[in-house]
């Protein structure tokens, strides 16, 4: 009902606007073309300068309201992110100056030089000196930006430091799988045709390769160490995904068949960030930033940045995937009686349950 009411109101507004528009056209015909044009110029010239002033105020207001919600309002959480932020600031200043000068001139000229009987247009077809100046000045400013940019770019994309923590991250529709190389510090071979979700081999690890035996595979949450570079080796199982790390100010695509990589140095643990931002629910989220299907918006991973000690404890608790797939090889499963016992207990519990329901 309210829908029809809304539509009726909109149609009514349209009709009123249209009638006014038509009436004003008749009026301008009666007034004569010259006079009508002068009136329209006056109104629109005024609106030009009004728009400029309102617009500048709007820019200020928008910044005031929204700035605290952006990442610029707090320190980047990685060493690389700091560089991104400082570059952002340089770029904001340079483009900001150009923005304000050109927009102000645009609307001010429009207002100032509206048609007037007192003034004639100034025939001014070209001025080579001026044109050279405004070719050269942007070129110099851009050169500065390029130099800054490329310096950072090569730093970001250069090889990861040797002491970096090695983590493999694999995107799939719609989630993330992480692999740690284990004690031997090397990842075992994998092949996509060996992928077998039903048997816990979500990455297609090749069990003939003994380097796989100690590789730890976890999903959704990745652990890494504060102030220690982490090198992500990025893979995809199906379509293109993207490892988006907004707090670290970095991202890199995950491309099936073409491994990519990204490294960064986290500066704060998750706990520190929670305190810094006063947000108890803060998480370092991995967002998929490349359209990957209907679940794209839900493809979330979490990075838990911890201290080295916490990390060591966590890693020690992780069971290599090899033992999940082959439980009989697991040294902690070497007490066969216990294992059978536990199955028996569960079985007996189930039977009692059934009996209970029957009764």
């Amino acid at each position: 009902m309210s829908m029809f009411f809304t539509i009726a109101v909109i149609v009514l507004v349209f009709l009123i606007i249209f009638q006014i528009a038509k009436a004003s056209e008749y009026v301008s015909v009666i007034k004569g073309e010259e006079k009508a044009r002068a009136d329209q110029n006056k109104v629109n010239g005024f609106l030009m300068i009004a728009f400029l002033i309102a617009g500048l105020f709007g820019v200020y207001f928008c910044n005031k309201v929204l700035y605290p919600d952006t990442l610029l309002s707090h320190e980047a959480a990685s060493v690389q992110g700091e560089k991104v932020d400082s570059m952002l600031w340089i770029t904001i200043v340079i483009t900001g100056v150009v923005f304000f000068i050109t927009q102000i001139l645009l609307f001010y000229f429009s207002y100032k030089y509206q048609e007037s009987k007192k003034r004639k247009a100034y025939y001014y077809p070209h001025n080579n000196k001026l044109e050279v100046i405004w070719t050269a000045v942007p070129a110099i400013a851009l050169t500065a930006l390029i130099v800054f940019g490329l310096k950072n770019w090569f730093a970001f994309t250069g090889p990861a430091p040797k002491e970096a923590l090695q983590v493999e991250i694999t995107g799939k529709q719609f989630g993330w799988i992480f692999r740690y190389p284990g004690m031997d510090q090397t990842f075992g071979k994998k092949y996509y045709k060996l992928i077998d979700d039903a048997n816990s081999n979500s990455l297609g690890q090749d069990w003939k390769d003994s380097k796989n035996f100690d590789d730890v595979v976890v999903s959704q949450t990745m652990y890494c160490v504060v102030n220690r570079p982490v090198n992500l080796r990025i893979f995809s199982r199906d379509v293109i995904h993207d490892v988006g790390l907004s707090e670290f100010r970095l991202k890199q695509d995950a491309v099936p068949g073409t491994p990519t990589s990204l490294w960064f140095t986290p500066k704060f643990t998750t706990k520190e960030m929670k305190e810094k931002l006063g947000k108890p629910d803060f998480q370092y989220e991995i967002s998929c930033d490349q359209m990957c299907g209907n679940g794209h918006y839900s493809m979330k991973g979490v990075i838990e940045v911890v201290t080295q000690e916490e990390y060591d404890v966590w890693l020690a608790q992780q069971k290599p995937n090899y033992y999940t797939v082959f439980p009989d090889k697991d040294p902690s499963n070497q007490k066969p009686q216990l294992a059978t016992d536990s199955t028996k207990t569960t079985a007996s519990v189930k039977t009692t349950d059934v009996v209970k329901t029957k009764m």
Partner: protein, 609 residues
Amino acid sequence: MSNEASMHADTSVNVPVEVHHHEEHAHHHHHESFITKYVFSQDHKMIAKQFLITGMIWAVIGGLMSVLFRLQLGYPEEKFMWLQDLMGKWWFEDGHLTAQAYYALVTTHGTVLIFFVLTAGLSGTFANLLIPLQVGARDMASPLLNMLSYWFFFLASVIMFSSIFVSTGPFSGGWTAYPPLSALHDASPGSQHGMDLWLIAMAVFVVSSLLGGLNYIVTILNMRTKGMSMTRLPLTIWGLFFTAILGVLSFPVLLSGFILLIFDRNFGTSFYLSDIFVATTNTALPNEGGNAILFQHLFWFLGHPEVYIIALPAMGIVSEIISTNSRKPIFGYMAMVASFFAIATLSFLVWAHHMFVTGMNPFLGSIFVLLTLLIAVPSAIKVFNWLTTLWRGSIRFTPAMLFAIGFVSMFISGGLTGIWLGNSALDIHLHDTYFVIAHFHLVMGVASMFGMFAGIYHWFPKMYGRYLNNTLGYIHFWITMIGAYLIFWPMHYEGLAGMPRRYFDYSTWVSFNQFEGLNRVISIVAIIVFAVQILFLFNFFYSIFKGRKVTTQNPWESNTLEWTTPIHPGHGNWVGEIPEVHRWPYDYGKDGRNFIPQNVPVGENEASH
């Protein structure tokens, strides 16, 4: 020597043919049937109208789609039962837009606005309308190919439209159609028949675009009237000329990319596919050795020039309108032409800036940074020249002029953020966030739309012999201008928060859920702005039949040749001889004279430009 000879030969042949054509034309006028006049017309002016109106229909469809997905983004909790009743259960479930429908809408919105509205609708309309009229030709070099260009576009439109009604839905992988998502039927429901139809529609569209583009180039190069040297061409024609060249050189590459994709989808090849395990069917695909990034190279080899295919006609139109309504010559005509040339050339060398985070070689990336930021120089020249044209002018605020000024404002706002994104070290942070959405909507979407509106308001009298209603034009401009900034300006901040684009719902994200209120505001403004476009459409169609009649041949006191034709030009444009051109098109305010049309001979004491 031989050139000269052939030129002479041409003229000697041309003259009688021209005369003959006239008589024949006058004779045939009465026999023109409805079909040949309005449907399968070979008159460039009618074809322009066909492109324009088809483009408008697509703009409404694409705009409505954006309203629908903005409803989801602004009101993720709200139930829209009436929309479900209207559109059916495939689109809405329990009153909520489905994720599948959301992605289908986003994808189709992008595809149709970029290709069908801002390519076909913009350069299709104005190249057809203006090239023959402004260079002084009776029609395009090949009216038949020109007609076919429209009908291929129409066919592409029909196919694209039909894809909306496929049971698995239209394609939903984003307008960029990256494989493997677009290549694998099982990766997404939208990658099934919807994608087949999308690809066929796009392939047909490429044919349309090539037929049109070749025709535009040939017409501009070979059919200029006597005295119309290249440096006397209006900037509209220069813009359309470079647009056509870009299209002819880059669309075939896109087509080749699409053909390989069709093969990968249907015939078991592995151009783009390698190492893929499809979870929905639990199978590892046999394809190995392909490269998904190859498609992106082929796609963006068109995709980036495409941005300029959209922008250059708008720049040309805006240059012309600003000069005419400032009553001043465009400042730095040669610099404007040179910057067109520079932009067109550079546009072929920057495509990989869309791919900085695909894992491409960092050194290669650095080259693309350099070339990309270089493109800001000719763009800056253009802006400064427009500003200087306004300076000390005598500005008449016609609706066309307002939209032209709006174009410059949008182009500045959107263009400057290009300097951010073109720098790979910043792109690695901002890529695929709302910052990108804000950037390209301002610089390419809104700005070019403004160029198109400016063109429509300016040349409507030439098209239909009537005026659009001015008051509605002013309302249209100011609400659209304010609305566009309200919609896209705050999106920069969302992008600076890292908020990714193409998300159906942000509520589960700790990092991005702070913008719920903002998203609602943006959605409300988007709906208002859409409503105002409907007002414009009403003005357009009402004015075709009932608008104030044009009573003078040259209502804007403009110099270009189209205003030397009759108010209602027939097929052939000029009655009698085609006027001869004696000067450049920007003699406004020269020697104290308000304007001097191009066909006026240079006076004895007058310095020619």
